[in-house]
Symmetry: C2
Subunit: 211 residues, 2 copies
DNA sequence: AGAATCCGGTGACAAATGTCATCCGCTTGG
DNA sequence: CCAAGCGGATGACATTTGTCACCGGATTCT
């Protein structure tokens, strides 16, 4: 509409990327650098580094993986928003899990992309998000809101440990509960998820992103 | 030494890449394209496509992920070697699993890289492999040869299904065995892996790449 | 203050799981 | 030919798991 606005929207978009796999991190940076209007000003290999980099550089857009050491991408996103930083966040992950998406949006993310989308969509998403738009797969969004996480915190903890191969007794010791109580929680979780046993229950919860 | 040899060794290295995650595939291609001496002549999103592309283009180097739909990268590598194709193979994966590395080398791969290595190492590895050298992390290699897979085929099958949450009965029906036999195999696998139960056993086997 | 919940816990019981010793039929190698 | 092995099956047993009904204290709602 007017020259000054045009100047802003035409200038390069400044980006920070966080991703724990070095190869993928470098490759994504290369992919974005090819675009003339996007510039990668910092890279991070875990959530903590990412938060520092973002708070320091105040980029236009922050792209982050979810599963990283030290601090997850979701936690990093939440922290950045809590610090009232204007940077917009794009979550870039392997997992089409409703629970992740929901937590991402709760954490104030503007975009949620899957790594198996076409490579060209990344740069496009960066531009759209920079313009203030949201970028979320509509199908996944629908699923995220239709299926709320049915597990209580205790059920989640217990199920997570059970999925790692711990026995009810081990879990009880680990959480300071009695073994019977652990079995009760497990039983509840199994029935809520429509599973036949603890292993299947853990598998279902994982694929839904309910951990 | 002499102009014609120099011409060959200085010309660009022709590469085919296979990787099921579109973003990562595009990004890796971008990463390699910025190197002046490497050219990505084809991309594939599963093992079958990859084999066709390699047999058709006869590239100098074939870079492939392992876990892909249709056909795994390891199977693709084996198939290519079986067809007596001179293309050298680099496996590029997330997993530092001894079993994977061993199968990769058995399949005739020249390199085994982890995605969490530094991005610059990829181009370097491509050049080394093209020169006829091998590129394998020495530490991982040592582990691969010191720890042979202790599981029999049956134990592996049974353990895989158990890890998905099936009951002994289900597994028995699925494999046409009796339930008791399934429990015997499971018990054997558990003791061989030093686990306390089927879930832990499956976890251990998975992290070792014994599936 | 009383009722309704929530969080943990108990006890009991059926079913599934893990472990062993043993057995059968079939190669395979002396 | 016969012994040794191997894949698979049985039966029996102790342990773990999954389910349920029910108890007690603390919180919350009214």
């Amino acid at each position: 509409m007017n020259p000054t606005v045009s100047k802003t929207s035409r200038s390069t978009v400044r980006v920070v990327i966080a991703e724990d796999q070095g190869m993928v991190l470098g490759a994504l940076a290369a992919l974005l650098e090819i675009e003339g209007d996007i510039s990668v000003i910092a890279r991070a290999r875990n959530g903590k580094e990412a938060v520092q980099a973002v708070l320091h550089h105040k980029p236009d857009v922050f792209i982050t993986d979810i599963e990283m050491p030290e601090m997850t991408g979701l936690e990093a996103a939440a922290e950045i928003k809590r610090q009232r930083c204007a940077t917009r966040v794009i979550i870039l992950t392997t997992f089409a899990r409703a629970g992740y998406l929901r937590r991402a949006l709760d954490a104030g993310a503007s975009g949620y992309l899957l790594k198996d989308m076409r490579a060209e969509e990344l740069a496009e998403a960066v531009r759209r998000v920079h313009r203030g738009l949201r970028v979320v797969d509509p199908e996944l969004a629908a699923e995220a809101w239709s299926e709320p996480d049915p597990l209580t915190d205790r059920e989640r903890q217990v199920l997570r440990l059970a999925g790692e191969g711990m026995s009810s007794g081990d879990i009880a010791t680990n959480l300071g509960l009695s073994e019977g109580t652990v079995r009760n929680y497990l039983s509840e979780a199994i029935s809520k998820l429509g599973a036949a046993n603890r292993v299947e229950a853990a598998r279902i919860a994982r694929t839904k992103g309910w951990l």
